[in-house]
Symmetry: C2
Amino acid sequence: MAHLKDIARASKVSIRTVSRALKGNGYVDTDVRQRVLRVAKSFGYSPNLTARSLRTGKSFDVLAALWHVDELNMAKLAGLEGSLRHHDYQLSCLFTSAFGEDSTKQLLQEILRRRPAGVVIFTDRFSPQRDCYIARSLVQAGISYIMVDSVADDVDSVRIDRSQGVYDAVLHLAAGGRQRIAYWGLTSDSTRWVGYLRAMQQLGRSPICLELEDLGDDNLSWATYGRKITQLSSLPDAIQVFSDSMAFSLLGTLHAAGIQIPQQLAAVGFDDRPMAALAWPPLTTVAQPCRETGAAAADILLQKIAGAEAPPQGWSRTLPTRLVIRESA
Amino acid sequence: MAHLKDIARASKVSIRTVSRALKGNGYVDTDVRQRVLRVAKSFGYSPNLTARSLRTGKSFDVLAALWHVDELNMAKLAGLEGSLRHHDYQLSCLFTSAFGEDSTKQLLQEILRRRPAGVVIFTDRFSPQRDCYIARSLVQAGISYIMVDSVADDVDSVRIDRSQGVYDAVLHLAAGGRQRIAYWGLTSDSTRWVGYLRAMQQLGRSPICLELEDLGDDNLSWATYGRKITQLSSLPDAIQVFSDSMAFSLLGTLHAAGIQIPQQLAAVGFDDRPMAALAWPPLTTVAQPCRETGAAAADILLQKIAGAEAPPQGWSRTLPTRLVIRESA
DNA sequence: TTGTAAGCGTTATCAC
DNA sequence: GTGATAACGCTTACAA
């Protein structure tokens, strides 16, 4: 692998001149520049990034830390990497699942050890206090960060407008003539529930929550709940489901109970996992803007790294979802 | 951030001694070592990896290149990262989807530019020639590599014994009393088909292939094919399906056609995606050993990086699948 | 057992 | 415009 020195020798100029010619940041005679560029190309030169980093004190590594190993995060990661690469940054990953006890501390240590230019935290959406702690620690260490999907509102995060997504879906159900639109989900994520309530209020209807009384029992699977739904004395004619996963369970259960979808009951999921298109009937669902989320995270993080001022509304950004209408509703 | 110099000054010894004390590779007086270690700890010292890399000429970056953005690769990636981290290597990612035309060339250029210690190629299982080309290029550039799931047999790759997986599944179906066990899949991946044929031969039965005559038409979705299956004049009583995705389509279709699963027809998928457990009925399927695949890739790659001799049978390794029995078969 | 000094490949300062 | 030369923080011969 060729070095600056080799090119300097071959072009009969000094290293400094080669450096200037290649980066185009100083005055170099046009002829000399041409020659140097040609030689560099013929040598297949590409700078040693390690040396550059050491000298400039700058890193071009962005570290992503992930809790959930799933396809949604994978797509967000892909969007992130594409944007970073476009700006000559590289993406490294850290899967927290491989950490043991005291994983947050270990994660932070590992981050500090690697001295990345910035960090992207893909939160698990269930630990706002942890998010805050991590954010504080990183700020203190002088490392730029952006989170993805944090529900803590005092950290910089790219968020997805889940509330609006559910709102849109419920209005779609109503527009389709559905009268009794229910919600089946978890209270631990309030954003979707809030969107449902807003929509029902907008429609002037009373909310119907399918959260059954013994939901606290973790041993009952979603499928079991689905079966309970089919046994309700009065079935709703539409259900907004928390996630595609739960919607899948429900769909099968409804089929098994002989309930026609969407004729008797419409169902809408959330996430738009690839499987949604393969369900029977193909699942209408609220799509997360995965690639865009990753791209937005890259955009914000690079600005922070560059030392830009935070915009008046802060760094956080909320991206819209997209209702994907298929056959289930 | 503290440097070796700072610790040396504070401990009243030379940089060299600090280095030795911390790495434990030379003779250092016990007292001195204790003191240095204490000071280093109080300073929160951690070595500058960039400087170390530059000096030693070694990189501790492993680069993973991925074609498919899905949860299976994500799990393999997680397994890979965990193992690498355990050996103080870090994992960087490159998603080929973000490359434009001529993506293979671009990918190789990007790999060379970054000078990683090694490369893991997560192939798309459909381009053996490309795999070979990439492998040759990397070897020529002196970069250690390992592939994941390559179907080219002259490259080093961690493979999954899909053939055996399907074989096991078909035998399971037979053990459950199924008489007419069919296979529904793509010919483009022959490994699974071969496993099916082997099993049927072992059972002394004739294979039943559900690949319908107009399978060449890409516009027909899997669901459409599923419907065709329900319309067969004589239905099989078990189907080994190519993938969980296709099995999902099929399951819904069969339900819609009023076919009881597994009573009338048993179905087995392949992959064990998380969704499989949520299907109705929960899908019996052949699980890919994702984390293990990633770990094996790390293991082999690190050996190659260390300059170890290839074992007599070559670097490639084939991992067993695991039959996950749920309710669909 | 410990210290001195050179060097990894780049970038940046300054004088010519 | 261009060229010596120092410096980034670490590792490692070699000397003491």
